[in-house]
Structures are given as C-alpha cells and as structure tokens.
C-alpha cells in the first residue's frame, strides 16, 4: 500500500512539474504580484513598506488559493481527458488509493508553496525592518486550510463535469452569490412585496448559501487578522476551525469523487 502510494505520488509530482498550463498559471500570478510590488521598492517610509508587504502577502495568498484549486482541477481533468486511468486500475491499484494520492500530492504542493510564501513574507519583514507579526503565521495557516478545501472541491467538480464548466460553476454558484441574492429577496420582502414565491426563493438561496463550500468560512471573525496581521491568543482557535472545515469538506469531496470515479466509463 505504502509502495503504491509512493509510486502514484511520484507520478503526480512529475505531472505538476511538467504541466505547462500550471506553469503559465503560476507565471501570470507571479507577474501580477511583481507588478503590484513595484511601488514598495520606491516606498519612502517604513509604514508604507509594511502596508506594501502586507498587500503582496495578501495577494500571494489569494493567488495560492486559486492556484491550489487549479492543481486539483488540472490533475483530475487531465487524467480523465487522456483516459489513462484504465492503465492504473487494471493493475492492483484500487481507485481509493489513486484518488487519495491525487489529494495528497495536490495538498503537498500547496503546502510547499504556502511555506514559501510565508518565508518570503518573513524575509520582506526583516528586510523592511518591520516587526514580524504573528498574524503572518495565522493568515498562512488559514490560507492553507482554504487551499485544502478548494483543492478537494475542485477535484470533485472536475470528476463530475468538464473543467471549464467546473470553473464557471465555482465563479457563479458560490456562497456570496446566494448570500447577495438572499439579501436582495429580503430587501424586496421588507419593502412590502410579500409572496409565496419570494419566500420559497429566500429559503432556496439560504440553503444554497449554507450548502456550497466557502473559501473562508470564518471570514467575519478573522477579517481583522488578515487586515492588521495581529492576532490575539483567543483568535487562534479559528485557524483550527478553518482546518476542521476544510478537512470535513475534503472528506466529503473524496467520498463523492470516489463514488463517481467508480461509476465512470474509463475506456
């Protein structure tokens, strides 16, 4: 089992290393970050340097979540598109193990990038002679948890639909869309228009908001930490809650992905 996992992980890491699509994705992200970092080089004050560094850290973390989602999406969709899974499952390598290896490899790469970004942030803090904030570690951990959740969710979507449709689905059908729709319906209702259809829609949007995976499930409680990079001892449990949410989402996505993988025509 261990040997099989190792063999699959090695193959997935080679895929990540050689995927031109992922490389292009990463280069675009880096280019955008570098462009946004240019003003910091010319920043006159330490405060401006801190704000700039915080901005870069935040941008990189945001990109990391999108990139991690891409890791999961591309890995699954490329294997399904190339129809090479029949070579794997006609060997004594069960789908449970292969799927687990895809999750582990994508999460591993995401963790590596996460650590790299954190290291860059620390270096920037030291170079800018600004105080190293504990919030950096918190935000990094929170971003990692969000990345894990997004990897799992996109892997599941890639298993059941075309990758382009999966991306469009995530962009359109996300919790904030339904939250805004729910607010809109509530506003219409409070303006005096009451009908059964509006009530049904209000409930429907609410349930969609509750069911769809969130990138940052505790954003209200942690937004201040992301903004100031300062974290109080009482706020640390939120990082663990985020990880718990991400792991639950991963477990659910894994089970659903496995269900669909075993029913897919792999010929």
């Amino acid at each position: 089992m261990k040997e099989l996992l190792k063999v699959n992980l090695r193959a997935h890491f080679i895929y990540f290393r050689r995927s031109r699509l992922l490389l292009a994705f990463a280069l675009v992200f880096l280019l955008l970050t570098l462009l946004s970092a240019l003003p910091i080089v010319f920043s006159p004050s330490r405060a401006a340097a801190f704000t700039g560094a915080k901005q870069i850290f935040s941008t990189l973390n945001m990109f990391l979540i999108a990139f991690s989602a891409g890791l999961g999406l591309f890995l699954i969709s490329s294997h399904l598109r190339d129809r090479n899974l029949k070579m794997v499952f006609t060997k004594p390598c069960p789908p449970t193990l292969w799927l687990a290896s895809t999750y582990v490899s994508a999460i591993g790469v995401s963790l590596l990038l996460n650590v790299t970004i954190l290291a860059c942030a620390l270096v920037m803090s030291l170079l800018g002679h600004t105080k190293v904030q504990a919030g950096l570690a918190f935000v990094s951990f929170d971003t990692f948890a969000a990345s894990v959740g997004m990897i799992a969710y996109l892997m599941f979507l890639a298993m059941v639909m075309h990758p382009v449709i999966a991306v469009v689905f995530v962009l359109i059908f996300n919790p904030s869309t339904f939250y805004n729709l729910q607010l809109w319906v509530q506003a219409v209702q409070s303006a005096g228009r009451k009908s059964t259809i509006l009530q049904v829609f209000e409930r429907l949007f609410h349930y969609c908001y509750m069911v769809l995976p969130m990138v940052h499930p505790f954003s209200r409680q942690t937004q201040a930490i992301h903004d100031s990079l300062r974290v109080a001892p009482a706020e640390w449990p939120y990082a663990l809650y985020s990880l718990g949410y991400a792991l639950s989402l991963t477990a659910l996505s894994y089970c659903l992905s496995l269900f669909f993988l075993q029913r897919k025509k792999l010929i």
């Binding site: 099989l4 699959n8 029949k86 499952f89």
Partner: protein, 300 residues
C-alpha cells in the same frame, strides 16, 4: 480462466438517446493456457467484451468470472494480469522510462534493478528512455505498452489490437514474445483484425457479431468449416467436367478448382487420352475464408 455467460452492455448516446447494444448476450469460455482470439467486424463488441473482462465496464446483465472472481477495478486479481490497450492512453507527461517504471510500480512489488533497463533494451527503447511519451510516435508508445506487459510475469494477458501501428520487425519480435509468454503457461486473450496473425498464434477463436458469439471453437475446427478444395490445371481440347469450377481458360489450358471429394474422379478424368495434368494442389483453408463464411451464415 474466464467464464462469461449472457453478458449484456448497453451504451446511451446522450442523455435521451436510444440505447445501443454493445454486448447482447455474449457467452464464452477461456480455459487456462489458451491463446484465445476475439474476432469480429468493427463495432462487433470485441473491445467492449475485453473491457468487461478487465472490470472497466460493468455488464448490465449476465455472469462474469475472471480467475473465479468478479473483476473489480484495481483489485488484487490484477496482480497477475497484464493489459495492452488498443489506443496508447498512457500518462503522456512521463518519459519512456518513467512510464514503464510507473506502470511496473503499480504492481506494488519491487523489481531487480536490471529488469527495466533490460526490457527497454530488448524493445529498442533504451536510447529513447528520456523522451516524453507525448513526443513518441504511436509505434513507440505501443512498445512502451508491450514493455509494461513484460515487466511482471502475468498469468493472464489481455491484448487489444496489439500490433496496430508497429513496424514489421517489431511485429515479428512481438509474436515471438507472445509465443514465449504463452509457452511459459500464461493465458492470452487477444483482439485483432489481422486474421493471419491469429492463425499463427491462437489456438481458440470466438467470432463476435453484434455483441453475440456466433462461433466459438478451436482454430483448427473453425478453419475446416471452409470445405477443402484442390486447385487444378490441365490441358484438354474438350469440355471440363461439371464438378470442375473453371476459373480461367487459356487456349487448351484450363485452370479451376475441384472439391476434395472429387479428387479420385478428377485423377481418372485427367489420365484419359487427350488430357494432360499440369497442376493439382490442396488449397489450404484460411481463417479469413472461414470468418467470412461464418459471418454470412450465422450473423444475426
């Protein structure tokens, strides 16, 4: 080794499209040590049958046992199975050597260090071992497929159109490899349109048409379905007997064929004065002729 009874597989084109019967009550039996060939026209259901045997497709109805077990994806059953697909659907981001190592590694057993380099050398892939599969020709990808089949000594080997896209030298080498694997005691199940190749290798053949087995016998029995005839040529100034099917007549030389049962009559006829026997040879029946005859007679 493989028992398939009344297997049915239906595909649907689109969500609302009518179901297409890929297999419609297919039954066959592959015994241990057989070199079994599945023969049929395009779309007859040969590959679908093989995918069912490999567990890649679940039959809608019927009973299927491979080595006494229901084939399940990635089960331990595959520890002694090798499969060469028709299309080179491999992990194209890997190099030749990485791919062979990866597929060999999926058996979960450690190999002696020299096994993979030896197999690559034997198939002429050693000098291309660092070439990504995406840049390999179809023939080279097929060789990679053959290599991953040879790495572990399998007891059941599935080959789906194995020689498609290969050059004659490697086809010949591949045939020798298959004979070697078969002589070692492995059971081989092969799909192929190259009937001459099946004649050279297989000992049992199933002819499939529209998802059903219309003939299932030893190669010898199937080839004797085509009535034996003799090709004859003789000189005469008169007419040929009615049981000689004349194919050509050049002056007084007649060329044709006679049924084997008429050989004695023909010899007596040819020994008459005014007649001269030029040629009389047994025409060997081919699988191709038997295949066409069976299709004409038994196709549903």
């Amino acid at each position: 080794m493989i028992v398939a009874e009344n297997l049915s597989v239906h595909f649907r084109r689109g969500l609302l499209g009518p179901p297409i019967k890929a297999l419609d009550g297919l039954s066959l039996h592959v015994a241990e040590g057989d070199f079994f060939a599945l023969v049929g026209q395009n779309g007859a259901g040969k590959s679908t049958a093989m995918y069912c045997f490999l567990g890649l497709l679940r039959p809608k109805a019927g009973r299927l046992r491979v080595m006494g077990k229901v084939p399940e994806l990635g089960s331990k059953l595959y520890g002694s199975v090798a499969f060469l697909p028709e299309e080179p659907h491999y992990d194209l981001y890997l190099t030749v050597e990485e791919a062979v190592r990866y597929y060999a590694g999926l058996y979960g057993k450690s190999l002696p260090a020299k096994t993979i380099p030896d197999v690559l050398e034997r198939l002429g892939l050693a000098e291309f071992k660092t070439l990504p599969l995406a840049k390999c020709s179809k023939g080279m990808k097929q060789k990679v497929g053959i290599a991953q089949c040879l790495i572990h000594p399998a007891t059941l080997v599935f080959l789906d159109e194995p020689t498609r896209g290969l050059d004659p030298i490697i086809v010949r080498f591949f045939r020798e490899v298959l004979r070697e694997i078969h002589q070692r005691g492995a059971t081989i199940v092969m799909n192929s349109h190259v009937l001459s190749e099946i004649e050279m290798l297989a000992n049992r053949v199933a002819i499939i048409e529209k998802g059903r087995t219309i003939a299932h016998d030893t190669l010898e029995n199937l080839m004797h379905l085509e009535q034996e005839t003799y090709d004859v040529a003789f000189e005469t100034n008169g007419d040929a007997p009615e049981w000689v099917s004349v194919q050509a007549r050049q002056g007084c030389v007649v060329r044709g064929a006679i049924p084997a049962a008429r050989l004695r009559d023909f010899m007596e006829f040819a020994c008459q004065p005014g007649y001269r026997l030029l040629e009389c040879s047994l025409k060997k029946a081919t699988l191709e002729e038997s295949f066409i005859k069976i299709l004409r007679e038994k196709a549903p």
